[in-house]
């Protein structure tokens, strides 16, 4: 049983870390504000909760587990609204999504 928990927790930690790294690479490589926000949201919405799940599986159920659950819930709740606020601010600042900007170029890239 504990071996199973260890394997599951290892998988969760690994998956969470990979998602976070992917989010980071996306933040760096993707063009435009909105694409980057999308990549960054990967971290908070699934990457961090998976890492926290991996940590939770490592320990006995206790007050600390409850605290980790609370942290995961809090992060999952605040991330979408933070992204929302960020994208509103970007729109107000004059950024436009790439799809709007390059309406003509999109047809070209889908043919490639």
């Amino acid at each position: 049983m504990s071996l199973l928990l260890d394997i599951l927790s290892g998988l969760a930690l690994l998956a969470g870390s990979l998602l976070c790294i992917t989010g980071g690479i996306g933040l760096w490589r993707l063009p435009g504000v909105f694409c980057r926000m999308h990549a960054a949201s990967l971290n908070d919405t699934l990457g961090t909760p998976l890492i926290l799940l991996g940590l939770m599986l490592q320990m006995e159920p206790s007050l600390t587990t409850l605290k980790l659950v609370c942290i995961a819930l809090f992060i999952m709740m605040t991330n979408p609204s933070a992204t929302h606020a960020l994208s509103r601010a970007a729109l107000h600042g004059g950024e436009r999504p790439l799809a709007d900007r390059a309406a003509g170029a999109e047809d070209e890239s889908s043919k490639r």
Binding site: F74, M77, T78, P80, S81, H84, R88, L91, H92
Partner: protein
Amino acid sequence: MLLALLLAVAFAAVRMRDLFSVVMLFSIYSLLTAALFMDLDAVDVAFTEAAVGAGVSTILMLASLRLVGRSEQARRRNPLLALSVVAVTGAALIYGLSDAPLLGDPNAPAQQHVAPYYIQNAMADTGVPNLVTAVLASYRGFDTFGETLVVFTAGLAVMLLLGSGRARDNQQYGSEDDRNIQRLVVRALIPWILVFALYVQFHGDFGAGGGFQAGVIFASAFVLFDLVHGHRVTAQVIPAHWLPRLGALGALIYGGVGLCSLFVGQPFLDYAALAQDPIAGQHLGILLVELGVGLTVFSVITAIYYAFSTREQLR
């Protein structure tokens, strides 16, 4: 690894000229420092650094960037003189530190004199497991009193310089629907933030926490409320003219505890005089004192935020 990241962030912050990015880098720097503190077993300090450095400090700097402008002019002066001064000072410091005790050495002079006394006797003297709270609130309570007064004075200074703000709304943009989304999420979160702040306040004896962290978290809940609902509504919840009085009340509670000990005939801030049983007196004293600290820190940070956010931009 953390140290390498810190160095990278610091150098990036030095080189960049867009102040907004520099403030963000400084926030990352504070968060990395908090992680480093966790690695160095300093849990209370990490908590405070994360709350204060990565939270409040960033908000204040962004608020002042709104008023001051976000880019920096290029320097036309030759940086060679500054670089050489910095290099000489750095070399002197490294030379001076060459016989410093190695990291983690249990026989270092810092671990020898007062610290073992505190570690061994704090439980017996104060009944509080969190050694940092025991030292902060009881053994070195007088220093913490001074610190509370410094925080209060800083709040007064900011209020004198920038005023406490008129109850008008800050600039809002976007549709009402958008704002309702944020208000929904924020309204769900704020009660939990306040409960957590109270938990940190009263649990500080047993785990990481205490008055400072609790005051900062409590204030950040109100800052969040202000960001989303606008200043007019927030000023109805916490009017600006309450805040200096609350801050003074916090400092008064702290000093009052000390004076109570004086009235009984014991030294100033000697908590053992507050109750029949010295340990109960210590608990009561630490509780009241942390409450005073939390109240002052909360009111000062909220007042400073009010002052910055309601200051009109110069046109």
